[in-house]
Symmetry: C2
Subunit: 332 residues, 2 copies
């Protein structure tokens, strides 16, 4: 395909076009992904997640600027905001970013304001990241709003997950979610010039002790499948807590240093390979689920499906009985 050749040569317009095709799940998009896949596996994927109001976007912005100043590394930013489909954060965030990063050919920013099933969003994010990876972007920052399991799943695509907190975001206990802390490789308290920063840090430290007793547990996406579960070296990585004031560029160097240290840790412990394997295993599983459903729907009679829903709506049979009946009917 001409497009993928141009992308491998560094053509931004071609890159942009394929990203759109993949977001639209077009046949060309899928073909492009298959062609580019052999070129993936080199980029460092950084997930940045945090509740609204923590200043994630500014932080990501500053981090990208920092990387660009220090080296020639190409940086991509994929901003995922599933809850903001037609107006909203992602688009605005882009505009703010443009001020600082525009004109820099080494930075590519892509917002996914797409809506859809969760699996769909994680899947599309994974695909966009693969394209950037193949196109030679060495650091890919995946930015998500981290208040739900969905965003945690998206962030888990990354090699290094940065969780952003901020002082005084409502109830301290609600803001600092153990579930999100568990996936954090690096913790950031942004807006660290605000009052309450000591409380936030104290709360983070005590929750961290709960979340990281001895070793890191890697959880597989979705239904647990022993056959694709990765073996993770239990070499201990204690997530550091970094204080930043992104709007003033404070603490960004320390954050970048922690991220670099984590990359080193990933390589030494074998986690780099293990996470790659887990990520690809999850992706295969998601694709498999979709394909199975598609195949099933192709083979079933629409009328039969409708009849079954009617029976459920009338409370004649339960949803699970309906599914069993459909599956048995289809097997014959």
């Amino acid at each position: 395909m001409l497009l993928t050749k141009s992308i491998l040569e560094g053509n931004r317009l071609a890159l942009s076009r394929l990203l759109t095709q993949v977001e639209n799940d077009s046949a060309d998009g899928r073909a492009g992904l298959v062609e580019l896949f052999p070129y993936t596996g080199k980029a460092h994927l950084i997930g940045v997640t945090g509740a609204p109001g923590t200043g994630k976007s500014s932080l990501v912005n500053q981090l990208a600027l920092y990387y660009r100043k220090g080296s020639d590394k190409k940086i991509a930013i994929v901003a995922v905001d599933p809850s903001s489909p037609f107006t909203g954060g992602a688009v605005l965030g882009d505009r703010v970013r443009m001020r600082d990063l525009s004109g820099d050919e080494g930075v590519f920013i892509r917002s996914m304001a797409t809506r859809g099933s969760l699996g769909g969003i994680a899947q599309k994010t994974a695909s966009l990241v693969q394209i950037f990876d193949a196109a030679g972007y060495e650091s890919i920052i995946i930015e998500t709003v981290g208040a739900g399991q969905s965003e945690v799943d998206v962030a888990r695509l990354a090699h290094t997950t940065v969780v952003v907190e901020a002082p005084g975001l409502g109830d301290e206990i609600q803001a600092i979610k153990a579930g999100i802390l568990e996936i954090a490789d690096v913790l950031v308290i942004n807006k660290a010039d605000r009052p309450g920063v000591e409380n936030t840090e104290r709360a983070l430290r005590s929750t961290l002790e709960l979340a990281h007793p001895t070793k890191r547990v890697f959880r597989h996406h979705g239904k647990s499948m022993s056959i694709s579960a990765p073996t993770i070296d239990s070499t201990i990585w204690i997530p550091p807590i970094i204080k930043t004031v992104a709007t003033e560029g404070k603490g960004i160097d320390e954050l970048a240093a922690s991220i670099a240290k984590h990359v080193e840790h990933l390589h030494q412990s074998g986690d780099w390979v293990a996470r790659d394997r887990a990520r690809l295993g999850s992706e295969m599983e998601m694709l498999l689920r979709e394909a199975l459903m598609d195949r099933f729907l192709e083979n079933i009679q629409q009328q039969k499906y409708e009849e079954m829903i009617e029976k459920v709506v009338n409370r004649d049979i339960s949803p699970s009985e309906a599914v069993t009946a459909l599956l048995n009917g289809n097997r014959k």
Copy 2:
């Protein structure tokens, strides 16, 4: 089954036991669900969603108290907090609630602090709600943290969705997500005694105008399936904006009145039936996906699956090529 008989007779202990069995996805739990399903379809399901710090839990608490004072209706509260698995919000929320609602046999509070795939959480919430419905709980409040698509999906189980905002929650534009507004039937600005309430209201109103131009669009869960898409009457319902101070019980009567008005609208427009159908259709679809995957994994050789992952990890083939190969291999 003895347990389901006891539940239909109003036994709380039996109810509690089956809820646990369903949460653990045990065979008894599944059997109980099938037995109770014919008794469902009577309850009014109220979804309450909002970002952390909006005071959702207090609001739900007050709403339950209000309902109990005004009538003999049995009320269930299902609190879903997927991002807080092992410490965290849900459990704490229960303790706070216990103070006000304990000792009232007409109220049943259940927290789901379970973790897992998103579909899994929505599915389990749907199941718990069905049990409460069969057990004669006339109003079932489903409380979720509404910052991600996952929570939106859970909230969408409801007949009436209440979206809770609060003044001064960080960036105004980020806090008020158009995507969440779109699913709102009733909007609440809680903590309305705080500064900034006028700004929040103004922002809500202008976003509402974007989100509800003429009619309400009902979106199907997950992959769009035209064969189960409901036809929704386009009778216009403009979500009212209610100001409350839940901690002081202010505005709760107005909120309850709006919810009652929405129920009336649902019946008149035919949306009550349409939403029931859409919900059950989604549930069937989710169960079908799980069942297809389970059936596939039963029939495939573990070694073959592992080999395929290895090929993907080595970038010999892409994930989608691997899935195609697995499906074709399995079909033979």
